[in-house]
């Protein structure tokens, strides 16, 4: 746990610095120096996304679990990990942009309160979807066992999208914060571009969680070959428990 805490601490320190750097630069941008400063902000937003997604959350756990059942021998799985990582990042960001602009335009006042309320509501919806994904994984494992087919190659693409959407529907508060800050500073385009830059960074980190899952599968392929069914079921149960935790049932 000490190693984990060290990572969390370092990520927090970096985010603290980057958050301050981005806000100072967005505020400082004026028409004369906009290109260089804007590119700097976008570069830092990318880095911020990379580090931000490395912290807890953002669907890495689900992606990692999903790809832990995938064989590293199939090169297609690596590209699928990136595909899912970026799918999550895109949905995550679009969700944040829509939520931010909607709340800002509709409400304007009491923003911060609604920001948190909306976040809580969407977490509940996301939790239900995560539970459904868990049930689906268990169903797939059971079906595969019954049909005596290989678990690795049998998870259909539609489950991939279900996993991605369930993990990403919760809007990223980090993206929401940067976007809103830019809107308040009347730098609308920069706000959206920063959100996109941040999502590219997040997508890379989330994809790496999938790659880790695949590599892990490689290291334990002998082990998983024998009890892959049990592990697949276990993953499904864990994902359901995760959903229940998030929905605060447990």
């Amino acid at each position: 746990m000490e190693f984990y805490n060290t990572i969390i601490k370092q990520l927090t320190v970096w985010q603290y610095s980057l958050n301050s750097f981005i806000s100072n630069h967005i505020r400082a941008i004026d028409d004369d120096s906009s290109i260089t400063m804007s590119l700097t902000v976008l570069g830092i937003a990318f880095l911020y996304g990379l580090i931000h997604a490395a912290g807890p959350g953002h669907g890495k756990a689900i992606v990692g679990l999903y790809f832990s059942g995938k064989s590293s021998n199939n090169k297609k799985n690596y590209s699928q990990a990136f595909e899912m990582g970026y799918l999550i990042a895109i949905v995550h960001t679009i969700s944040a942009l829509i939520t931010t602009f909607s709340l800002y335009l509709i409400i304007k006042t009491m923003f911060y309160k609604h920001f948190r309320d909306t976040y809580d509501s969407i977490v509940q919806i996301s939790s239900v979807m995560i539970i459904i994904v868990g049930i689906y994984i268990i169903y797939e494992a059971y079906k595969n066992k019954k049909e005596q087919e290989n678990i690795d190659d049998n998870i259909k693409s539609k489950s991939k999208y279900a996993v991605a959407i369930s993990a990403a529907i919760v809007p990223c508060p980090g993206v929401m914060t940067i976007t809103l800050f830019s809107i308040i500073q009347k730098k609308y385009i920069l706000g959206v571009l920063s959100a996109i830059a941040m999502s590219i960074g997040m997508g890379l980190t989330i994809s790496l969680a999938g790659i880790l899952g695949i590599l892990f599968h490689k290291q334990t392929s002998k082990f998983t070959k024998n009890i892959g069914y049990i592990l697949q079921m276990f993953s499904g149960v864990i994902i359901i428990l995760l959903g229940l935790f998030l929905i605060k049932v447990l």
Partner: protein
Amino acid sequence: MRYIVITCFIVLSNLFGHPHTFIDVYPTMVEKDGYVKQLNMRWLIDDMTSSMLIMEFDQNGNGKIDPNENTYIKDNYFNSLKDYGYYTDLPCEYTISDFQANIIQNRIEYNFSIIPTKKIKVKNFQIKFYDEDFFVAMQLKEEFISQKIPHIVKELDGDWFFGYILIYK
């Protein structure tokens, strides 16, 4: 076994929040005869979060917090932090008073006092600053503590969050 351990690790990591608001904490100890009289707290909220809050708090847009706006902030925002222990963990019961919000260079500042309800010695008095949900990251640096009462600042490694401990000697 490694599969199970790593699976648990990444799943558990998903359960924890991660900071989106950063608060610089400036604590000042007020002592009397070696006992804690009160703690004067100053919080400086990060620029991005402050911009959201100012949009709502500074209702007349004059760039400062007026008395009626201060009452609004206290009633609608600050008091609700009681549920989170004001992100401040003390080894005794306490009351909160003298809340005042300000806008300092585009950042929201909260000032308030923490008064212990029983006599407690300054020596070895510990204050922990953290948010268990880790939605808020409390930042305590040595340079935030200006007074000369001997103390040390230590990092607090909670299982699911990160914070600081201030220990008076």
